[in-house]
Amino acid sequence: MDQQNVEKINSILDAELEIREKIKEQVTEFDKKTRTLTGILNRIHSTRSEQMPALLESARPVLESCRETTAALADIIPADQFWKWKEMWQNSLRNAVFAALLVEYLHSGGLLTLPAVAETLGIKSEWQGRLALPAEDYLHGVISVVNELSRLAVNAVTLGDFEQPIKISLFVKDLFAGFSMLNLKNDTLRRRYDSLKYDIKKIEEVVYDVSLRKLAPSSKEPEKKDSE
């Protein structure tokens, strides 16, 4: 290889290495935040409904602190190179999406939209090409929420809350119907979607147990649905 070629290669390589180092630093920060979030949200399984709002409140500031990280990342990534680097923070981002979605569900019972999640995490639309929230990562977050809710359905009953499983069942079935409209390739998302049916089955069994024993006043809910 002639000298000129070697120099060219080295200059490209050095620039990329620097970017990589900087991103790594931010990802470490990001990870700490999402780990804290996971730690807090882990407590939903032993928290009675009346104490849930306080628990969620404690998650909010951590969630909002993610905005600093996304801003720092957007600063580092060169124009148009979003997809080149995104695998580095992908996992942290999905965890943050998961946290944002779960907090909202437990708060309002609804699903935060993609733009709303992006906003929560401080991701600005003008960063397009450097940092964005792709549909794929949003959907991964949604699936993680379903995984968590199937456990919550079980634990809520143990804590004597027979309403939660029924609410979860309705929420998750809507999501599943949405997912089944997508033409997923044979990738991770597909595999995780396929595994959703185990979560749904588990939730259905909880609802079954509650209905069978007429434990929840609203366990007649399916009739309401019929009138949609």
């Binding site: 290889m1 290669i9 148009d80 939209t113």
Partner: protein
């Protein structure tokens, strides 16, 4: 997209997923198109490599320099065909899209670089540079169809060593083959050393270095076999080749 922040019924969830479906379908379709183009590039490139091998073995009679130039010239048309495929992919790869679909385009691109660097070696006996490859992927105004990544450049070159091994072994027992094999041998040895420095940064390259090492050993073994055999005789190698050719043709 709807401006509601929170969706709380199936009626509001489904339209949102419908939009996801459109986005995903759009993405998958583009991906499929690019994969197909990449596959076409691969096939054409493989054919060029084959053609180059055939030319240099068939025209073994011609002088060494001529064959190289001749082969590169005959490949030029094919390369133009491949380059027009890249030009066709350009609109799908604008802006951030290139970084998104790079891995889908890579297989074809790397095979193209393999072919291009093979032709370049035959003509110039040297390694094609990063800039030269990037230039071959530009329109008439010199604007790149898409940026060339270091990884594609290096992995394409790494495959080149395999073709050079085939080239060296196929020509070694022909007239002048010894010299060709010896040239290729030191060329590949240098490539391997040059790449070695870069392996910490590219996982794929690390894997391909093993293949390169094997190719190098195969060339060394072939060169050795010829050296051992000719060293039994007092005549210059070229003359020995002529004597053999005489026996086979009679």
């Amino acid at each position: 997209m709807t401006s509601t922040r929170v969706l709380d019924s199936r009626d509001s969830v489904l339209p949102v997923f419908e939009q996801f479906r459109e986005e995903l379908d759009d993405h998958n379709d583009r991906r499929e198109r690019l994969i197909k183009s990449s596959r076409d590039v691969t096939n054409l490139s493989k054919k060029v490599i084959f053609l180059l091998h055939r030319i240099v073995t068939d025209d073994a009679a011609e002088s060494d320099d001529n064959i190289g130039r001749h082969a590169a010239a005959r490949a030029k048309g094919k390369f133009r065909e491949i380059q027009s495929l890249f030009a066709g992919m350009r609109p799908e790869l604008t802006g951030e899209r290139f970084s998104r679909y790079q891995r889908n385009v890579s297989p074809g691109l790397q095979e193209y670089i393999e072919a291009l660097s093979f032709a370049h070696y035959l003509e110039h006996k040297s390694l094609i540079s990063y800039d030269q490859v990037q230039q071959s992927l530009c329109d008439d105004e010199g604007n790149a169809y898409f940026p060339l990544t270091l990884e594609d450049y290096l992995l394409g070159l790494s495959d080149l060593t395999g073709e050079l091994m085939r080239f060296a072994i196929a020509s070694i027992s022909r007239r002048g083959g010894r010299q060709k094999a010896s040239d290729v041998c030191s060329f590949v040895r240098n490539c391997k050393a040059d790449f070695e420095r870069l392996t910490p940064h590219f996982r794929e390259l690390r894997k391909k270095q093993h293949v390169t090492a094997q190719s190098l050993e195969k060339i060394e073994d072939a060169a050795y076999a010829v050296a051992v055999r000719t060293s039994e005789y007092d005549l210059p190698p070229e003359m020995l080749d002529d004597l053999v050719a005489q026996t086979v043709s009679h």
